[in-house]
Structures are given as structure tokens and as C-alpha cells.
């Protein structure tokens, strides 16, 4: 069953009119937060158990606390709207339908860490949303809710890797979006070397809900380590693609079969290009950080699909989008893409499979960021669960 917490205003309010947002308790959460100390706000977010919705699942309150305690008068909040993961469109849906909740979340985050400036980094593909978001910010400002914080939208220019937080910051700084070495981490040294928190659109949209209803209310939803709900983007071989919000811990089957009406499912890719590939036998797996989740991209493949073909296309994408800074990712994704292509031509060998496995381990251990570390996952998962599909391509020789 759907549970609309993050999406509660979507389809309810007019995203072009703040009055409709104010009518559904809009900015009550910010008013409440401003009456508390910034530490009390952070404590509330910590107590809620909210974890980052961009895929990594880092505890949100802890991130805020690190930035709040970091030395420096100049601090930044960044709303990450660079939703580039293949198969993800939930942040687009939130921005399209309820930009005000995001802005309210950013306003609360700014107060909590003591930032005077915030950015929303909007991917180039969502340029059509720029006016809507800017208009929403202007209305919020006019109502006097942004006295403590200036929010500026910065646009990306087409680069998957810029959804990765350190590459995103380099992009805002006007550079090539290349990943940074860490430590230092953004809460201590981020944008222009200043303490910075970067949160996903969905994470920030959760904030007003938590402040308004309390951490206790939020923490009642979900599992032990995955509190609240999650917004999923479902596409591929389904009758009803779209955005669905479920309580964390809900079974994958509910989302894929009940809500999106998929039939004869062979596999599901969870978390986009670098996500897990789950065979139908595991369709009852709970959707949570403990199990599988990512940013909530759910791509469904039916029985007619060849998993080798799927993985080949996935690796081709990752090879294109690797920023090229570290060798394991830059070269590893290329070699994997080439190898998969060889399988598609019917020229794969058992030795190729050994090389793929070895390479996967090297990339996971030594890549600089999540892209390279997670890039081998589709290869590893497909070899584990769909070895037969590979064998089909070897035999063709």
C-alpha cells in the first residue's frame, strides 16, 4: 500500500502558488524550528533516524551536526537535484509538484547548520523546471521565510557524475565535475573549502514532515535501520510506470507486481546503473538500507530479456559517464564494457568471466568514489544469478 509522506502535497497543491502550500501547514515546520535552538533541530533530525535518500544512506542528522560543529562563519547547504541515475525521476516529480517542501527543508537545514547561502543544483535535463523552482523561491522569499538564508539555483550541464557530492561541488565552483579525494569530507571542507551539507531533494523534503510531526512519529515508520518512507521510480517492463511512495521495509513484490503491475518478471535492477540486479526468486526482499535500496530506481525486466544485453548497456553507460580521474574506474568501466560487448557478439570466453570477477574486486576496492566502487555490481550480480545468460553467449561461438 502506498504511504504518502514525502509526496503528501503532490497533486494536492498548486506548485505555482504558495497560498495552496500554506493551506496545508506549509512553513509551520520552519516556524517551529526557528523557535528551537539549532542544536535542538539537529537532535530532532538525528532522533528521527532519517538517512540520505540519494543512495548512500548516510545519517542526515549526523551530517548536519558535523557541519554545525565545523569551524567557520561561512557555511553552505546544497540541495542535490542532479538526479542522473538511470531510471530515476522521483526528484523531478517532487520538484514539479511540490517545490515548496524542498525549499522549506533547505530553510530548516540552513538554520540548523548556520548557513546563510544555499544552492539547488538542478540537472541540465530539468531546465524546464527552472522557472517553476525560481518562482517558488521568490514567493517564499516574499512571504519572509528566507530572512536567514539566500537560495540560488545552479544548473548542471550534462554529467552523471555531478550527482556525486564532491563532483557536484566542483561543478558549482565552475570546474570540471571531477571527484575529490576524501577526507576532508564536505561537512568540514566542502564548497570553496567551507563546511557544507549536501542532501538529496527527497531527504530535504522529509525535513518539514519530521519537524512538524516529531521524530517519534517518523521513527515509527520503517525498519530498525531504515526509518520513514521511500519514494521509488518504477520503469521498464511494467504496465504502470511511475512514482510510488512506500514505507521502508515493504517487499519489492508489492511495488513491482501490485502497484506497477509487472508480469512474468525475470529480474529487477534496484538503484540504477550501479544498482543490484535481483532475480525474481528474491522478489519478496524488503526495500530497505539493510537489504537493497539505492536512490529508489526500479527497472523491471521481463522473461523475454537477456541479462547480458542489459549489463552490456549498463556498462556502456558507466564507461561514458566515468569522470576519468581515477584509473580503476576510468579503465575498469571501459574494459568491462568492451568485454560485455564481446559476449554480445558471441565471442566471450570463460577466461573473460574470470577477468571480469577480478577486475570487479579491484574496482570496488580502489575506486575514488561511489561510481567506480559500485560500477561492477551489475556484472557481479548478473554472474551470480544469471550465469546461464552468459553461457548462452559463450556457446554461440
Amino acid at each position: 500500500m502506498e504511504k504518502r509522506v514525502v509526496l503528501k502535497n503532490c497533486g494536492v497543491i498548486d506548485p505555482k502558488d504558495i497560498a495552496s502550500y500554506l493551506a496545508v501547514d506549509g512553513f509551520e515546520a520552519l516556524k517551529k524550528a526557528l523557535k528551537l535552538t539549532s542544536q535542538q533541530v539537529i537532535d530532532e533530525v538525528k532522533a528521527s533516524g532519517l538517512r540520505g535518500r540519494g543512495g548512500a544512506g548516510f545519517p542526515c542528522g549526523l551530517k548536519w551536526e558535523l557541519a554545525s560543529k565545523a569551524k567557520g562563519a561561512e557555511k553552505y547547504v546544497i540541495g542535490n537535484a542532479d538526479e542522473g541515475e538511470v531510471g530515476t525521476f522521483k526528484d523531478r516529480y517532487i520538484l514539479e509538484n511540490d517545490p515548496f517542501s524542498l525549499i522549506e527543508g533547505i530553510a530548516i537545514a540552513g538554520y540548523a547548520i548556520g548557513a546563510k547561502k544555499a544552492f539547488i543544483y538542478l540537472r541540465a535535463e530539468y531546465h524546464f523546471l527552472l522557472d517553476l523552482v525560481n518562482n517558488a523561491i521568490a514567493q517564499v522569499k516574499k512571504k519572509g521565510f528566507l530572512a536567514h538564508l539566500d537560495i540560488e539555483v545552479r544548473e548542471g550541464a550534462g554529467a552523471y557524475v555531478c550527482g556525486e557530492e564532491s563532483a557536484l561541488m566542483d561543478s558549482i565552483e565552475g570546474k570540471r565535475g571531477e571527484v575529490r579525494y576524501r577526507p576532508p569530507f564536505p561537512p568540514t571542507s566542502g564548497l570553496w573549502g567551507k563546511p557544507t551539507i549536501i542532501n538529496n531533494v527527497e531527504t530535504l523534503t522529509n525535513i518539514p514532515r519530521i519537524m512538524l510531526n516529531g521524530a517519534g512519529w517518523f521513527a515509527k515508520m520503517g525498519t530498525e535501520k531504515s526509518k520513514g518512507t521511500k519514494v521509488f521510480s518504477v520503469s521498464g517492463d511494467v504496465a504502470k510506470p511511475g512514482v510510488y511512495e512506500l514505507e521502508l521495509g515493504s517487499p519489492l513484490r508489492e511495488l513491482v507486481e501490485k502497484l506497477a503491475k509487472a508480469e512474468r518478471v525475470k529480474a529487477v535492477q534496484i538503484g540504477g546503473a550501479t544498482g543490484r540486479i535481483i532475480p525474481y526468486a528474491m522478489i519478496d526482499a524488503p526495500l530497505s538500507f539493510e537489504s537493497v535500496l539505492g536512490a529508489g530506481a526500479i527497472t523491471v525486466f521481463d522473461e523475454t530479456r537477456d541479462i547480458v544485453d542489459i549489463v552490456e548497456k549498463t556498462m556502456e553507460f558507466l564507461a561514458e559517464e566515468s569522470c576519468g580521474k581515477c584509473t580503476p574506474c576510468r579503465e575498469g568501466t571501459e574494459v568491462m564494457a568492451e568485454t560485455m560487448e564481446r559476449f554480445m557478439r558471441g565471442e566471450g570466453t570463460n577466461k573473460d568471466i574470470r577477468v571480469l570477477k577480478e577486475l570487479a574486486e579491484t574496482m570496488m576496492l580502489s575506486s575514488l568514489c561511489g561510481l567506480g566502487q559500485a560500477a561492477p555490481i551489475p556484472v557481479v550480480d548478473s554472474l551470480e544469478h544469471f550465469r546461464g545468460d552468459y553461457d548462452n553467449h559463450i556457446r554461440q561461438k
Binding site: E83, G84, E85, V86, G87, T88, F89, D91, R92, R123, A124, E125, Y126, H127, F128, R154, E155, G156, A157, G158, A159, Y160, S171, I172, E173, G174, K175, R176, G177, W192, S233, V234, S235, G236, D237, P241, G242, V243, Q269, G272, A273, T299, F301, R305, I310, K313, T314, F317, E320, E321
Partner: protein, 143 residues
């Protein structure tokens, strides 16, 4: 103090490149040289940024840019058929520009319209649930 100022200006590079592109559909050599001079950057640094991002072009292109999504969710919904019909309609391959300069045609990675797959962008407009039949009509609107 001077360094801080310079950092601030440098920080505008991507914004300035985006503005240049919005004006003339690509970032020209002259623009790169001018930006390098005014921001006290090397030409290589400016070119490096301009060439990093797939939505910035360093070569002249058509008045309208068609970007067909070639990521998995669109491919599963027969994006290849759409790619082929645009190709046929315009008589150009991905990466090319029509002789009259009306259209450039590219393939792109996930545009976040998987719920409307197969999908494409023309300039910043998203067109979804595409069928070969719809293509000619959609293209007509872009002069």
C-alpha cells in the same frame, strides 16, 4: 584578498559558459579565449570545462537540438525505433546537423522521463510516450 576575488570570478565559469551556449547554441573558440582572459584562466582550463559537460558544445550546431534517450528504461520501450525514425525523417545520423541548420541530433543518457519512455528532449522540452507516427508532427513545431 586578491586570490579570494579571483576564486569568486572563476566560480562563474560554468554559468558563463552556459549563458554563451544559450545565446549561440555552442561555445565558440572566441568565447573560450575571451573567458580565459577575463577570468585569468588558461585556454586549456576553460576548454577543459566546456568539453567536460555533454550539454555544452564546442562546435557549431543546429538551431534545435534533439536528444533521444538511449538509457535502459527507454531502450526497453523500443527507443531504437524512435532513433531510426528521427534518422529517417531528418536524413542525418546521431552526431550530425541537417544541412539547413535546423536540427542537430544526438543520443543522450537518462533524462529522467522513464515513466514516459521512450522519451526525447528537443531543446529543453521533454517529449514522452513516443511512437514513430508522432515524430514528424513533433518536429514540425521546431523551425
Amino acid at each position: 584578498m586578491k586570490r579570494a576575488g579571483r576564486n569568486g570570478d572563476k566560480g562563474k565559469l560554468l554559468v558563463l559558459l552556459e549563458a554563451a551556449q544559450a545565446k549561440s547554441a555552442h561555445v565558440s573558440r572566441d568565447t573560450i579565449t575571451e573567458l580565459a582572459e577575463s577570468l585569468e584562466l588558461s585556454i586549456g582550463e576553460v576548454y577543459g570545462v566546456a568539453s567536460f559537460y555533454s550539454f555544452l558544445a564546442t562546435e557549431p550546431r543546429g538551431r534545435n537540438i534533439i536528444r533521444i534517450c538511449k538509457s535502459l528504461p527507454c531502450l526497453l520501450k523500443n527507443a531504437q525505433v524512435i532513433i531510426d525514425s528521427v534518422r529517417k525523417e531528418l536524413g542525418i545520423k546521431p552526431g550530425e546537423t541537417t544541412a539547413d541548420g535546423r536540427f542537430s541530433f544526438e543520443l543522450t543518457n537518462c533524462i529522467g522521463a522513464c515513466d514516459k519512455a521512450p522519451a526525447m528532449m528537443i531543446n529543453s522540452d521533454v517529449h514522452g510516450d513516443l511512437t514513430p507516427k508522432k515524430i514528424a508532427k513533433i518536429l514540425e513545431a521546431y523551425k
